[in-house]
Point group: C2
Chain length 490, copies 2
């Protein structure tokens, strides 16, 4: 299995010494420990779960400076962004602590007996949600805090009462180990079994495959590439007993910029969009990879503004050399497919420059490769001859985390139709602003039809993320003692 070597993302030099990949025996031990902790953690109270999540947040806060410095070395994301991401991560942990404290994972529906014959009569029933058991959590490269060892998946699984086996991301292995050491210390301090959170690591796909195949793993949570997610989902489905697999994969996040919005504030929108395309060097799942314009003078002016605004952006280096290579290849594939370059900027190696390409709607519909996500600071303008083209382009995209619609301010048939089409393909529709920046809140929906998510009815960000790890169980004619325990037979 692939051993690990952390790399300074700016210099390409080795950072620390090589680390061994987890062996099959170590992976089994991690899952066995998780399984052994499962009954205890699954029967923990909301207060206990809240205590752990709060303590984890505090421990991250206490180690902020060295953790952020380490993350910056391994990812080149910059101190400002990484401090903000750590804020988000501790906020997430505390938010899920609050949900657990308020009893959300234990909410139940009482459905008292109704006398008489069926279909009207029925016995006493109570609907509970039960934790699934050990969750295999696959960390993402692009959020070394918020979607990694103590990220949203871990926080929501722990709040739901599930132990977590983290598959660390090889893009930030030193940070992962440091955060994991913090976790172990907190578990120890709280007298909790070390199996509540365990970790495995490895550079290649082998460790992740071994993990998702383990018979005691009850669910998988993944944020990453379509290819990687697809492979793991296939493994989850091919098990003798398939398990839920929550994969948040690729999205190109169309921005439909209608003429009224461009007339009113085209220059500001172009500037805002340029910032969103290049933010974090474009390494966001909600990066706006597609800009849909209807031909006209407003579109021309907006395009000129966007080229101008983008050319002033100076992205930082990408997370890894491999991702830089993939970015260059993705841009080249679009050029090869006939996309016209409006802006190609060399950048300062290892940082790529921003790119803007353009195609006609007809061309976009013909060449499938143009619908594929290019992870990095680039976007593809699609020029439409009519609103019919806009609908066809969105339908061809098929699935996305977001669709942004600027200018649908009035209740017209045209606007209703574009909202309808957008709602068919995305989990979140924005009517102002840009899709980057995903609020951790009650109404967030981070997920959409394939390929945005393998489970489009669920969200991986926001309060409902917790529900992914709870399975409904109906208790029929349950004895009083079990109901008094809120259905959890600890």
């Amino acid at each position: 299995m692939g051993n690990l070597q952390s790399v300074n993302a700016r210099t390409g030099e080795a950072f620390g010494s090589a680390m061994a990949a987890s062996t099959p025996g170590q992976i089994d031990a991690a899952v066995q420990a998780s399984h052994a902790a499962s009954a205890l953690w699954g029967a923990s109270s909301g207060a206990q779960r809240a205590d752990l999540l709060q303590a984890l947040a505090s421990a991250l806060d206490a180690a902020r400076e060295p953790l952020v410095a380490c993350a910056d070395t391994e990812t080149a994301l910059g101190l400002a962004r990484l401090n903000g991401e750590l804020d988000r991560t501790t906020y997430q942990l505390r938010r899920f602590a609050d949900l657990a404290q308020r009893g959300v994972p234990f909410e139940r529906m009482d459905d008292p007996a109704v006398a008489g014959a069926p279909p009207v009569g029925h016995p006493a029933m109570v609907l509970q949600r039960m934790p699934l058991g050990p969750v295999a959590m696959f960390a993402a490269s692009n959020f070394p805090f918020a979607f990694s060892v103590l990220g949203g998946d871990t926080a929501s699984a722990l709040a739901a009462g599930c132990p977590v086996v983290v598959k660390a991301h090889p893009g930030h292995p030193v940070l992962s180990q440091r955060v994991f050491a913090i976790v172990q210390e907190v578990l120890h301090t709280q007298n909790l079994p070390a199996g509540v959170v365990t970790m495995v690591q490895g550079a290649g796909p082998e460790v992740g495959v071994e993990l998702i195949r383990h018979p005691l793993i009850a669910a998988g949570a993944f944020t990453g590439s379509t290819r990687g997610g697809l492979a793991l989902q296939a493994e989850a489905n091919a098990r003798p007993r398939p398990i839920p697999f929550y994969g948040e994969l690729g999205a190109i996040n169309p921005v439909v910029a209608l003429a009224p919005a461009l007339r009113a504030q085209g220059a500001e929108l172009a500037s805002m969009l340029a910032g969103s395309i290049t933010q974090g060097c474009g390494q966001f799942c909600t990066n706006p990879g597609l800009v849909v314009l209807v031909d006209g003078p407003e579109a021309d002016a907006f395009t000129a503004h966007l080229v101008q605004a983008l050319s002033q952006q100076v992205p930082h280096p990408m997370l890894t050399a491999g991702m830089r290579k993939a970015f260059d290849a993705g841009v080249q594939a679009m050029l090869d497919a006939g996309a016209a370059p409006l802006l190609r900027s060399e950048g300062l190696a290892p940082a790529p420059g921003p790119h803007l390409l353009q195609v006609s709607a007809r061309h976009f519909l013909e060449r499938h490769v143009l619908r594929e996500e290019v992870f990095g600071p680039s976007s593809l303008l699609v020029r439409c001859a009519s609103m019919a083209d806009v609908h066809a382009v969105l339908a061809a995209v098929g699935g996305s985390l977001t669709v942004t619609i600027w200018g649908a301010t009035d209740d017209t048939e045209e606007h209703r139709a574009v909202v309808r089409t957008a709602a068919q393909i995305a989990g979140r529709l924005l009517f102002a602003g840009v899709p980057t920046g995903v609020a951790v809140t009650a109404a967030q929906q981070h997920g959409g039809p394939w390929p945005a998510s393998t489970a489009p009815m669920t969200t991986s960000v926001g309060d409902a993320a917790l529900q992914r790890f709870l399975r409904p169980v109906c208790l029929q004619d349950a004895p009083d003692w079990l109901l008094a325990r809120a259905g959890v037979p600890c």
Copy 2:
């Protein structure tokens, strides 16, 4: 594609003339009509949906006598059962009408803007649920009304705002056509497009495969065999754009009968269980196929009572000759695997007699074939030497619609442990009564870990069945006009 010939289930003679299977062109036309109706039906009001569902229920009631007679000829389920099933079917339609009328499909979560920077600050967000679009609904053999053309899947999909393409079950093709004719008349009377409910048919798997592969199908709902469901799920996942597939497959529904219950009322429990094993000739997804006993005098006495009670049962003919053949083969496979026959009853052809087999827990754990569902009037007793054996047996079952536990009346560690183990493998835990008879109610959970369901977080019976066909969509900074339309851009 396989043409259809209805058969009198009691005599084996042809019932009516042969029917042609739907051609690929007809399947495409059915889905295209469904797609064309999708925007209109998806934007219908709760009152409109309720009107349709109520009218469908009334139309079934009005045609009750000929429909039940036709169903009885094709299924041999008997008039009492079929009248009860029709009651359940109309109850279900009216219950979903009520849910639509009360606005359940349109419920939304308002999450007002919070000022300030992230992670605390966020824009105005509203979480809605949007209908998925055309649903391919695969009818079941064993519920010619309740899980067929106008069964629970159709009722819940229509209430959610999704048009339905029914794949009729070849076990009751004449009834399916008659019910479908009623649907068409009601749609016509209500001035609704015929595409709101369309139907295709065929004897082999080809028609269903063609249907689930159709690019305009948005979800699949299936009740039937593990083999059939697995094949269709694989098709749903192998599409260029995978779609949700809700398959309710096989379950063996363990009944754990603990000594205190057997001491107190062993004879009555045996009699009740014998009725459940043979009810509907054992052709229920919640049929108790496994009885788990701990060695002791209570178990011996209960076994004798059960053999006695079962031997007095006279099952009616099975639904089809193929199912009868599969039942005989399933029993034989268990005998071949070393199960001891406690009761083998010839029955009166084409009706099989009740069967009771027995194995030790150790034997059960060794032979995988003993965990497989035998669809029909038989059950397998598993004799356990200890409670540890009970846990091992339940864990080996892995997934089931139900687990029944008799005698867990007190709060003891032993009882807590068995509930914990049972909750890991089932969607419904019963502490009294028998698993057959599935209430259509708010807290019902009809689904469980694989192989009980391909989507164990969902239910195919009860109010929450509707949620399978609604996808969460977050509206961020939505314009007032869209919010005023409750988020549905009709």
